[in-house]
């Protein structure tokens, strides 16, 4: 089967092909998820190099675990869970203060935009938001990333992060509210009104 034909196959069909011994077909799955998973890891680890290294580990873990993958959830959910858990382990390994990086659901998050306010007014909203997402605690950044960039539902995110749907929504709302407050404070919505 050509690579072009393979690209139209579902994840399950590609996995079956890999399980049958066509190891090179795994590259199709890698291409399908690498950027979105990289986005999640980059926003959690706040570092491109670490994110790429962890991403490689995640794909290796997924490949080695493929034999035991029973399709109880979708491949994407399973893979993002591996990525999320590996990122959490990496954060602990790096001996960062995990309680700061992984803010508790009971904690309020306080973002600040410390750049010169005159510059902020000149910048596009999307640029400001990108910088602010970098400042979110790892688990809040993960929720924002999975919801917007990976376009997953709150139910899927709860499965990946192993938390309740209600907690996912709390984290999503809090992240948005913190970003909203910065926008209001810096009067970035002037052209929207």
């Amino acid at each position: 089967m050509s690579k072009l034909e393979m690209r139209n196959l579902t994840d399950a069909e590609i996995i079956e092909s890999v399980k049958k011994g066509n190891q090179t077909d795994y590259a199709i799955l890698v291409d399908r998820y690498k950027n979105k998973a990289f986005s999640l890891l980059k926003r959690m680890l706040k570092n491109d190099f670490d994110a790429e290294e962890v991403l490689q580990d995640c794909f290796l873990k997924a490949y080695n675990g493929l034999e035991n993958f029973k399709f109880e959830s979708s491949f994407s959910t399973w893979f993002y869970r591996i990525a999320y858990n590996t990122a959490v382990s990496r954060l602990s390994l790096k001996k960062r203060k995990i309680e700061n990086d992984m803010a508790s659901i009971d904690d309020q998050i306080h973002l600040s935009y410390s750049d010169n306010s005159a510059d902020v007014e000149q910048e596009e909203l999307s640029v400001v938001l990108s910088r602010l997402i970098e400042k979110l605690p790892a688990n809040y950044a993960a929720v924002i990333n999975l919801f917007y960039m990976n376009q997953l539902s709150c139910e899927e995110i709860s499965e990946i992060m192993q938390i309740s749907v209600a907690n996912v929504k709390v984290m999503l709302y809090r992240s948005r509210n913190s970003l909203k407050e910065i926008i209001l404070k810096n009067n970035l919505t002037r052209e929207l009104l």
């Binding site: 190891q23 090179t24 795994y26 590259a27 890698v30 291409d31 690498k34 950027n35 979105k36 990289f38 986005s39 980059k42 491109d48 790429e52 991403l55 490689q56 794909f59 290796l60 490949y63 909203l125 999307s126 938001l129 990108s130 997402i133 924002i144 917007y148 960039m149 929504k169 999503l172 709302y173 948005r176 509210n177 970003l179 909203k180 926008i183 209001l184 970035l188 919505t189 929207l192 009104l193």
Partner: protein
């Protein structure tokens, strides 16, 4: 009228409210300048986050990963072959030793004309004594030499294998 809560505004944006509730919120937003600003800001966050671009990994990421996977697979196959080879060598040595003892036992028992049961019992007893004899007296040096040689040979191949795959050092490439 009280200002709209952040939770309600978020639910409105996520389309989690009934039509009736949505209508009430729209009316409130139109009538309150502060709620209008807050809603516009939240909506701007929502819209811009949707547009946020997905960063890309380095272009050769897939090829590097696949080559690592192939090397890992090759190493696993080599490990299987190695374990099978070592197992086979040990089995052959064991069979040779057992064969040697059996042949020497049968030779001494061939002339007896007792029942089959007695033959088996005496064979087992003789075999046991030959085994114990193998590990004592004049045979100890032969058996010891064979075992030592096997262990040294296994250790050499094992070390050589590990050196090539770097498994001791946690590397797979």
């Amino acid at each position: 009228m009280n200002r709209l809560s952040d939770e309600i505004l978020n639910k409105y944006i996520d389309n989690e409210l009934s039509e009736e509730e949505k209508l009430k919120i729209r009316q409130q937003i139109q009538s309150s300048e502060e709620d209008k600003k807050r809603f516009a800001a939240l909506q701007a966050v929502h819209i811009n986050l949707k547009k946020e671009h997905v960063p890309e990994v380095s272009p050769d990421f897939t090829s590097r990963l696949m080559s690592k996977i192939m090397k890992q697979r090759k190493a696993k196959n080599e490990q299987r072959v190695f374990i099978f080879s070592i197992g086979s060598v040990f089995l052959i040595i064991l069979l040779i030793i057992i064969g040697f003892f059996i042949s020497s036992t049968i030779n001494t028992e061939s002339s007896s004309s007792v029942s089959i049961l007695n033959t088996i019992v005496s064979f087992m007893a003789e075999f046991g004594s030959k085994i114990s004899l193998g590990f004592s007296g004049k045979y100890i040096s032969i058996v010891g030499s064979i075992l030592s040689f096997s262990i040294i040979l296994t250790a050499y191949f094992f070390f050589d294998y590990k050196k090539h795959t770097n498994h001791w050092f946690g590397k797979t490439n």
